[in-house]
Point group: C2
Chain length 137, copies 2
DNA sequence: TGGGCCGTCCTATCGTCCTAGGACAGTCGA
DNA sequence: TCGACTGTCCTAGGACGATAGGACGGCCCA
């Protein structure tokens, strides 16, 4: 594994580009795609790839450094910190739990029963796959 | 059932107040809390309750009228349209499906296995115990 | 040593959304 | 008819984030 990282930004998304980039970097580290010591793309390079302003990328690098996820060496580049995987896994679990909790909350307030929640969940897990009877969970 | 409607707005939420109000109204209609013909609170009254500007509420009422969910009678009030439940149930299912799909997508890209997704889901349905994802007991 | 890349910082500008306050016409009941 | 309500519309302003462009010093290597 290592420097295989592609950042995709939707400028019209409901979350600002800087947050989208930060989330994707954190998830890549949590997933092990980016390991401690790995070099991240330069602000100018990623800005071209993701079609955003270099300042936007720079802001993300600085924010993530303050979190302890990245390590910036001016004149050299930014790198994944040693403690990053731990931090990112925690942040990932926190965020995914919160989002799913909000989803369940909203779905219930919209009048859906638990059975319907499970149905939607199974469909989300296998959107284009027919469920097989007795499939092992 | 009927006029039992409380709107809660988080001014610091990631979604703007107008969308929060619109979503809650749509969900209430889909859930049957608001039935066709029911009167909604006036822009000024709801603005006080939800701590937002009357213009913000007015914008929501107008947007929902363009969707066919509400019916505005100037000088009288706004009311739930006849076709609203159908529209809102469709919108609800569409939104919940999209959000859950994005969640599954994100969780997978963050390195979580299907088993862990199911764990998180079960915990979100019944948040009794607190245990980290993938932690061995 | 010089050139090229690196992150950082600064100011200014733009767009979007909500806020603010006022003005208007329609509706209803006393 | 009058007054109190209703939704609608208008302009102005502020908060926030992204954008734009430039300038600075650090690092590496030919």
């Amino acid at each position: 594994m290592g420097q295989n990282l592609t950042i995709r930004v939707d400028p019209k998304g409901d979350r600002p580009p800087s947050e989208q980039i930060a989330a994707q970097v954190r998830f890549a580290i949590a997933a092990g795609v980016l390991e401690p010591g790995a070099r991240l793309p330069s602000v100018r390079q990623l800005a071209v790839e993701a079609l955003v302003n270099p300042n936007t990328v720079g802001k993300v690098w600085r924010d993530l450094e303050r979190e302890g996820v990245l390590e910036s060496r001016p004149g050299d580049g930014v790198f994944v910190a040693v403690a990053a995987p731990e931090l990112c896994k925690e942040a990932r679990d926190r965020e995914l739990t919160a989002r799913l909790g909000a989803w369940v909350n909203d779905a219930r307030s919209a009048g859906l029963e638990e059975r319907e929640l499970r149905e939607l969940f199974e469909r989300a897990l296998a959107p284009r796959r027919l469920r097989r009877v007795g499939e092992r969970s």
